[in-house]
């Protein structure tokens, strides 16, 4: 992998983010507008970027990476649906996301529920449709089936949804480190792990590559959430695109509730180092992943 920059992958995603939404009849076009609104409201695209990078890292050629865009965008659809539902008044009741009003503020609650449902459904419809193109290519088909299973598992009731359930139930409660790790590992890390593993399968990873990338992703995923928790306390509102001290106001269970800020930063450093260590034996080949983890840790310093 030749030092491909984050923005190369991100641009690919940004350019194709609406491509896998099926043509929707004008009689129900509002759901398209609502999905499009949230899909194009910015965002770092970290999950789809990781999917494409993992695909290329394990040896996927340019056709593999191109073919992986469907799965990368599907992953962003899933992430976006989770944000729309998470922002609902019955859930986190957020009115601002990425610097613009949340979906239900613009389209109403009913349409926001349906736009979320629509994005989750579209993610699977797009990946399933893609598989029809590979019915006579057993190697690529198997890779796709493994990738879609990784994505569905990480988004489901043993993954992201489990984390959201535990997060909601832990509100207003003093929460143990074990519970906090559980919430973060599922709410945030699961989809990041799913992204990396799906990308690895799509690129034809061997067992060793898969194990190393999984170790990296687990630690990166936790680091990512802790960085977010820290930023909620000391970040700049304009830069974050949302209100600061949001977690605190909602009595959310976060690391800074349990530990002082310096300990949180220390934990973040440890996780970053551990993440990077999983890919040490690949030397410069892993530069993209190393840089990504380190940049994230630097962001909160």
């Amino acid at each position: 992998m030749d030092n491909i920059s984050y923005s190369t992958y991100k641009n690919l995603i940004d350019n194709h983010i609406l491509d896998f939404i099926p043509e929707i009849d004008h009689k129900s076009i509002t759901v398209y507008e609502s999905m499009k609104y949230s899909l194009t409201a910015g965002g770092k695209r970290i999950r789809p970027v990781l999917l494409l990078a993992a695909c290329e890292f394990v040896g996927g050629n340019s056709a593999d990476v191109k073919g992986a865009i469907t799965y990368a965008c599907a992953l962003e659809y899933i992430h976006t649906y989770s944000l729309i539902h998470d922002d609902l008044p019955a859930m986190d009741d957020d009115e601002l996301r990425r610097g613009v009003p949340t979906n239900h503020v613009v389209f109403g609650e009913a349409m926001a529920v349906l736009a979320g449902d629509g994005l989750l459904s579209t993610a699977f419809e797009a990946m399933n449709k893609d598989m029809l193109l590979y019915l006579d290519d057993p190697v690529k088909l198997k890779r796709r089936i493994r990738a879609i299973y990784e994505i569905s598992k990480s988004a489901g009731c043993r993954g992201m949804i489990a984390g959201q359930v535990a997060d909601i139930e832990a509100e207003n409660k003093q929460c143990s480190k074990e519970m906090l790790d559980y919430i973060h590992l599922n709410k945030t890390a699961a989809l990041i792990i799913g992204a990396v593993r799906a990308g690895a399968y799509l690129g034809g990873a061997n067992e060793q590559q898969l194990r190393d990338l999984t170790g990296y992703a687990e630690n990166l995923g936790l680091a990512f959430q802790i960085a977010d928790d820290i930023l909620d306390i000391c970040g700049d509102e304009a830069e974050m695109g949302k209100k600061a001290h949001n977690d605190q106001k909602k009595n959310k269970s976060t690391y800074p509730c349990l530990y002082d800020l310096e300990d949180c930063k220390e934990y973040l450093s440890e996780l970053t180092e551990t993440a990077v260590s999983f890919l040490e034996s690949y030397y410069d080949e892993a530069e993209f992943f190393t840089k990504l983890a380190e940049d994230m840790a630097v962001r909160v310093k």
Copy 2:
């Protein structure tokens, strides 16, 4: 197909309905309780029954039917998620479903949103996991890929969700027959068509069988919704398990808003006849499907 009764298939579904939910950690077990509550609250199981019946009708053997149970239950997960979300205060705001309190009344709105998301995710996770078992059986694998695509398409933004979007937007409006057909064809018929087509693929249908079953399902699906609309006006509350005149109170767009009751019953008869006519050339072999359509029409007489 030897005159298998509706209850044979329904019992299969009832006995396996919880089998495809993955093991969920106790830290997020509430979402399991919430999903289980709605999955076991009764219901006719018409979609999964149709899937199994279609699989057997086209020549699927007992192993094919057994293998199709995953897809049948996944379809019921999708149907159930749509009911949970549909009942939310922001949507139809229903407090009673199948004679028991709706999901959000028991588990709260946040958990109901997540239980719906969980069921939709679990449906795809279960089907994707099943495909892993057939990686080295290209014939059965292809049938599964086609089946899962049918299901995802029918549940998505060109199917069920499109219908729900149009339904919400048509509230409190005078609605044309074209719009009404669009709503019903998508909100209700789509998943019934998806069920029949997915079952047909899983049983190894040929093109002609697929076309005939699709024609049957389109008409059955519309008939099913019109029967429901009529029952909302003249049905028995105890039998329906929900309040009568619900549609009227919410200014929902239904056939009885547009036509008098006798015309609606006439339209129902026509659709039933057309549905049955698609399977005429199969004679007694199609008895299950014929009886199902006719029983439904009789229910509202």
